[in-house]
């Protein structure tokens, strides 16, 4: 099955995951997507785009759009504090997108035996963006599907 081979390749690539929290829950993103983590800064609003796109920021001359993961997941937004971070992701080697998260935790290595697929619930919205679930001693982490989270246009979730 395709999911399994993908899971294997993920585990084989080292399975390193950056974890962060949003609204108390722990999420993870595969390290290969991550360019850098910056602290929250002023975001320039771009009008007339879906609400979960907060705007754009300037990262060394690059204009990078910023997505609020809270808004994307249909959660209430909170005012940024000193722990609020922007994780800058990179797709296809050039296309950068930043996501706002509550706080960044650590980089963990997911062991193959700790990775399991998501339940196939069609009507559970939250699983829509989740690729795998990683469960180890420190707890449960939800590995996000970056492509879907960032690039998918349809079904924006509104709280």
């Amino acid at each position: 099955m395709a999911v399994e081979t993908d899971m294997q390749s993920f585990a084989a690539s080292g399975g390193e995951v950056l974890t962060f929290t949003i609204d108390g829950a722990v999420y993870g993103i595969e390290i290969k997507y991550i360019n850098e983590i910056i602290s929250y800064e002023n975001i320039t609003v771009v009008p007339k785009v879906p609400q979960y796109i907060k705007g754009v920021i300037n990262i060394r001359g690059q204009i990078v759009p910023i997505i609020s993961v809270r808004k994307r997941f249909g959660k209430e937004e909170i005012p940024p504090d000193e722990r609020t971070c922007i994780i800058v992701l990179e797709f296809d080697g050039a296309n950068q997108v930043g996501i706002i998260v509550d706080r960044v935790r650590e980089v963990v290595t997911a062991k193959p035996e700790n990775i399991c697929a998501t339940p196939q619930h069609k009507n559970v919205n939250a699983t829509h963006y989740i690729k795998y679930i990683i469960e180890d001693e420190s707890g449960i982490k939800l590995l996000l599907n970056c492509e879907k989270l960032v690039l998918e246009l349809d079904t924006p979730v509104h709280g």
Partner: protein, 791 residues
């Protein structure tokens, strides 16, 4: 397998860039000379120089086929330059050179593709050689040398080499290259070229480093010997330093070798050495003889010459013997003894040259040998070399591209980003919160200076990436030229605004679309015969105009012909037949009908009507332009012509913008859209029956667009009388925009939105891109024409 020599990968980019621009230069020269139908000396020299460079660099890259083709063309122009034949068949000459240029260009395109084997150019080379032979035939000069030989003579100034041991103010340098250096013979050539200007007389050993790959092995093994006489005012040390600093040179030792004086062959001792009849490889044995006596001779030459590399000399030595002429520093008898002790030497005879006057070479072998001696030790050929050097100097003055260098584009991107970072850093320092409330006169003064320098630097860096569009336009002259011949139509190509500057990356992707459009105009736009044009009341000569201008963040490129134009009804007929219409036929405007030609599949149906074929490649044009984020539209009038209008946003163009604030946001309005800005007076405001506000200015009524309303922004000034009204005009329509206030005028660099945002139609909502302001914050650039037309 890679086509290049190992270790050459790093040179590939440079090679491709250089060769491509040389070929472009060649095309331009050819087109110019063809239209003026004269071949000036300067042009011939230029073509010659281009081909020579391509030959050399291709050989260095190990691209034999290209090198040989360039060589063939070079040979041909050598004949033209030297013998000045009367060229009867000029058309054929141009065809040959143009084809060669095309072949080389095509080969460059596949040069990095390891799967495609190198193309075989032998057919075309033969054609060139044949034509060259014809040229030779036309030229009646009796003393004309065979083509190959003459070509060789001019490319290698080596005949002077025999000055291997000489006296006076000449020096000998022994150069050893780094071990494992690839193509060491060409490295040696580079060394020689680098000192050529500093040397009056110059020779080297081995000789044929340019064309003979075997010389690489010799240099690698024995090193490379250069004999030179510096020009007045240059010391031998200076020259040695140049040699030593050349790339890959491991060491260079210079020794004084005395004067280079003209020696009459009679002053030398001449001997003929015969070898044992069946000793084999006479040439190498002769080499041994030379090596043995080299140390003890002041002057030395021999015949046949190329004994080390040329197997055929063995036969010559076997039958005629090996001739040596020398002046020894030890008694001649000693030399004889040394020669005699060399293995396989059978006999040594002292010979007296028959012709002491070397100006008249005789057919006898002695005489020929004399000439060798004279040539090598005398001034004859060396003078030719210094003449060549002078000629080279002269032509280099006429080169136009002297002040240009090529830089990798990604480095420029980095530089630009870095400058942006510096500007941000500067703002962080100078408006640092820690400085608040302090009185820092000197600091402020220094900060102002820094700001000034930074903004100057920004301007320069931004201007670096911008290149005039003429580069893309000039390529079209070639296409028009070729099609003119093929279609036998008389067409002139006119440029307008060719100095419009656009970003380099745009130029590169413009070539294909432009080519398709020009072809279309040539093929289908312009009438088939001048008679047809005259009948329509137009000048017999067709005209295609390429024009470009930049207009607020967009570059507009128009390809217009004055041909027969298109009839929208016929286009609709055809589209209907092909099932390409998406709405009822009557709803199509003329403009929409013209755009049909850019649909894929529109032109597949080949019917012989006046518009058939229009659309060949047009869908490609559309795709390419859209990839750049631009648009293509077509306008046409039956009987008067067709124009293609391309609008491309300048991905990195600089725009004069007016920054306006709306709530917390800052927008930039390109200044050339702004007619005026003012505070509203109560008597200017009108409201129509639907509640739309309108503003009356000098008897004209304009609709009002509230920017905060348009973009759903909070915290903006909603009072019309408090905010500022900006009257903007685009595409002939005007409107008033309401903003909170004007911040200031600034030059900004347009950066396109990321693809993610483009997916949400930011362009359709009147935003053409972003820009980074001096303090690092982002401003959104408004696309006024979209806002106004979108009302």
């Amino acid at each position: 397998m890679a086509k290049f020599e190992a270790g050459m990968e790093s040179m590939v980019d440079t090679y491709i860039f250089e060769t491509t621009s040389l070929l472009e230069q060649l095309d331009q020269i050819l087109i110019k000379t063809e239209s003026e139908s004269t071949f000036g000396e300067e042009e011939i020299n230029e073509i010659f120089r281009i081909m020579h460079t391509i030959k050399g660099s291709s050989a260095m890259m190990g691209l034999e086929n290209m090198s040989h083709l360039a060589h063939a063309v070079e040979d041909m122009f050598y004949i033209i330059r030297e013998d000045k034949p009367v060229i009867h068949d000029t058309g054929r000459l141009y065809d040959l050179v143009f084809t060669a240029s095309d072949l080389l260009k095509a080969e460059i395109d596949i040069v990095q593709d390891d799967d495609t084997p190198p193309t075989d150019f032998s057919a075309h080379m033969r054609a060139i050689r044949e034509y060259a032979a014809v040229l030779k035939g036309v030229n009646t000069a009796p003393a004309a040398a065979p083509e190959e030989k003459s070509a060789d003579r001019k490319t290698d100034p080596n005949e002077l080499v025999e000055v291997s041991i000489c006296g006076g103010n000449s020096y000998t340098t022994h150069v050893v290259f780094e071990e494992g250096t690839a193509m060491v013979n060409l490295r040696a050539l580079v060394v020689v070229n680098s000192i050529r200007e500093k040397c009056d007389k110059l020779g080297f050993e081995p000789e044929d480093i340019e064309n003979d790959p075997k010389s690489a092995d010799i240099i690698a093994r024995d090193g490379f010997t250069i004999c030179f006489t510096p020009v007045a005012g240059v010391s031998a040390d200076e020259v040695t330093d140049i040699i030593r600093n050349a790339t890959f040179v491991k060491e260079a030792k210079t020794s004084y070798t005395g004067a280079l004086k003209k020696v009459r062959s009679g002053d030398l001792t001449h001997v003929r050495v015969m070898f044992e009849p069946d000793c084999k490889m006479e040439n190498l044995r002769a080499m041994m003889v030379i090596n043995n006596i080299k140390e003890d001779c002041e002057l030395l030459t021999y015949f046949p010459k190329d004994i080390e590399n040329n197997q055929e000399t063995a036969q010559l030595i076997k039958t005629d013997g090996f001739f040596i002429a020398f002046r020894a520093s030890i008694p001649d008898e000693e030399i004889f003894r040394i020669i005699g002790e060399t293995p396989s030497v059978r006999s040594i005879d002292e010979v007296t040259p028959e012709h002491k006057d070397s100006e008249k070479p005789s057919k006898a072998s002695e005489g020929e040998k004399d000439r060798q001696v004279q040539d090598s030790t005398g001034g004859g050929d060396i003078k030719t070399v210094s003449d060549q050097v002078k000629a080279a100097k002269k032509t280099s003055h006429t080169e136009k591209k002297q002040s240009l260098i090529s830089v990798n584009l990604s480095k420029l991107d980095q530089l630009l980003n870095m400058v942006g970072e510096i500007v941000i850093a500067e703002a962080m320092v100078t408006s640092n919160p820690d400085l608040k409330g302090l009185k820092l006169d000197n600091f402020q003064k220094a900060a102002r200076q820094l700001r000034k320098l930074n903004s100057e630097m920004q301007d320069i860096v931004m201007s670096i990436r911008m290149v005039p569009i003429s580069g893309a336009f000039n390529k079209m002259t070639r296409i028009v030229r070729d099609m003119k011949v093929k279609l036998s139509k008389d067409v002139e190509l006119v440029f307008e605004g060719a100095d419009t500057e656009v970003d380099k990356s745009i130029i590169d992707s413009l070539n294909d679309p432009l080519m398709h459009m020009v072809r279309n105009s040539m093929d289908h736009g312009i009438e088939d015969t001048p008679a047809e044009r005259t009948a329509a009341g137009k000048p017999p000569r067709g005209k295609i105009t390429l024009s470009a201008y930049s207009s607020s963040g967009e570059v507009v490129i128009i390809v217009a012909d004055d041909g027969r134009g298109m009839d929208p009804r016929k286009l609709l007929d055809k589209a209907e037949k092909n099932g390409l219409l998406t709405k009822p036929r009557t709803e199509y405007t003329d403009k929409e009908a013209f755009s049909l030609i850019m649909l894929p599949g529109f032109s597949t149906n080949e019917t012989v009507t006046e518009y058939s074929g229009r659309g060949v490649g047009m869908d490609v044009v559309k795709q390419n332009i859209e990839k750049l984020g631009g648009t293509v539209s077509v306008d046409s009038k039956p009987g008067t012509g067709t124009s293609f209008i391309i609008k491309i946003p300048l991905s990195l163009s600089i725009v004069d913008g007016m920054e306006v604030s709306v709530g917390k946001s800052i927008f930039t309005i390109p200044i050339n859209y702004i007619k005026e800005s003012f505070k509203l007076k109560p008597n200017q405001l009108l409201t129509d029956t639907d509640g739309h506000d309108m503003i009356m200015i000098r008897g004209e009524c304009y609709p009002l667009i509230r920017l905060y309303e348009l973009y759903d922004l909070e915290g903006a000034q909603e009072d019309l009388y408090e905010g500022i009204i900006i009257l903007a005009e685009a595409d002939g329509k005007s409107a008033c925009l309401l903003a909170d206030g004007l911040i200031g005028e600034q030059q900004v660099v347009i950066k396109p939105f990321s693809p993610l945002l483009n997916n949400f139609g930011v362009k359709q909502n009147g935003m053409s891109g972003c820009s980074i302001l001096g303090d690092g914050s982002i401003t959104i650039i408004l696309d006024i024409s979209n806002i106004i037309t979108g009302m």
